[in-house]
Symmetry: C2
Subunit: 216 residues, 2 copies
């Protein structure tokens, strides 16, 4: 159990060109998302990168280490915009909810990180550390930001308090499920009618705000 990670790039200076390692990770993420962990071979990854299989082992000591790197890197970038929205004092509380939801839809459906749930489920027993990293580094971050946005609205009297746990699941549940459904049912002709992103998002947002708004 020895860690053999490359030194992390602190700034712009690199003792090693980021190109190759970064490209391997990029291709790996795409393949893992498409074929699953066990379904992705190092040969297929090498071919996707245009190099030989053995060369992969110069950058990563094992397939498992490579996968861990895929899953644990890049969370900060994913939630950066969300943090900005949370602190944007020029937005009303309702608009902050709308913008945050739109951003979470974007992250969860479009980004590699957001689409990793089925992948994590596949390997969670085999490589428990990826579940922990995904949970602490990604899931919890998002939940905390959304909670902060709602708390601010309650504090200012714009929102009515609701059960916290239920609201979290009501907000994130439909988004995660939509993302996974779209992965499950890629290729079905009914995909865009049963799982259309914009339409679900807008309707979802309206219903959430119905619950948060003060009523006479």
């Amino acid at each position: 159990m020895e860690k053999e990670d490359e030194p992390k790039p602190d700034g712009a200076r690199d003792k090693e060109r980021p190109s190759r390692r970064a490209e391997i990770l990029e291709q790996a993420r795409t393949l893992f998302l498409d074929k699953g962990y066990a379904g992705t071979s190092m040969s297929a990854l090498a071919k996707a990168c245009g190099i030989q299989k053995a060369s992969l082992y110069h950058h990563f000591p094992s397939k498992e280490a490579l996968f861990v790197a895929c899953v644990t890197e890049g969370y900060d970038v994913a939630t950066r915009e969300l943090r900005r929205i949370m602190n944007d004092d020029e937005l009303t509380h309702e608009d902050r909810v709308r913008c945050a939801l739109a951003e979470i839809y974007k992250i969860t459906i479009d980004s590699h990180v957001g689409r990793m749930s089925p992948l994590i489920a596949e390997v969670s027993r085999q490589i428990p550390e990826v579940a922990r990293a995904f949970h602490d580094g990604f899931i919890i971050q998002q939940h905390e930001i959304v909670n902060a946005i709602i708390d601010a609205g309650i504090k200012d009297g714009a929102f009515v308090p609701q059960d916290r746990l239920g609201m979290e699941h009501l907000i994130f549940g439909p988004i995660v499920t939509l993302s996974i459904s779209r992965q499950m049912f890629t290729g079905l002709d009914t995909l865009e009618t049963v799982f259309p992103v914009e339409q679900v998002r807008d309707s979802h947002c309206d219903l959430i705000l119905q619950l948060l708004r003060k009523r006479p």
Copy 2:
């Protein structure tokens, strides 16, 4: 002594002895859910069944066919209770929603069929027919039943109409996500505090009914 010439039940409707084939499917479902499709080998399955690998091929022509059988069989049983609730005229509309939600939580979190989403996502591109079967035979069935329950409530003036697509996602989203989260984060010590089934279910149900109930 080992002759299994069972006295065939007259006029019975058993197309085939359930014993061996059924046991293989049962073990396969457990292994596929635990290790994924590519991560489950025919050798491991044979060992779990206590037979030799070659014997599996007497019952199923290939691993893929075996998997398809795992995914396509058993939907009727899963949604039977849900159908009963829909038609139970002794329940109020609110109670029908409560019972239906409780049943969907049970199906989605406890049953093999309900926990298959990550698995379907893994193989959907490789074996498209399983996605179709899962969608038509399971997902759509549940949605239609829930829609019927809500429609009945609207018709009787107990519920206020809400956007249909949004409500579907608001109802199923948190349940599916909870199921997958519990699969992803099995083993995390915070599992029961962040993803507790009963608590989420009750809170979820209350919020849904807030949206459906008529307000002054």
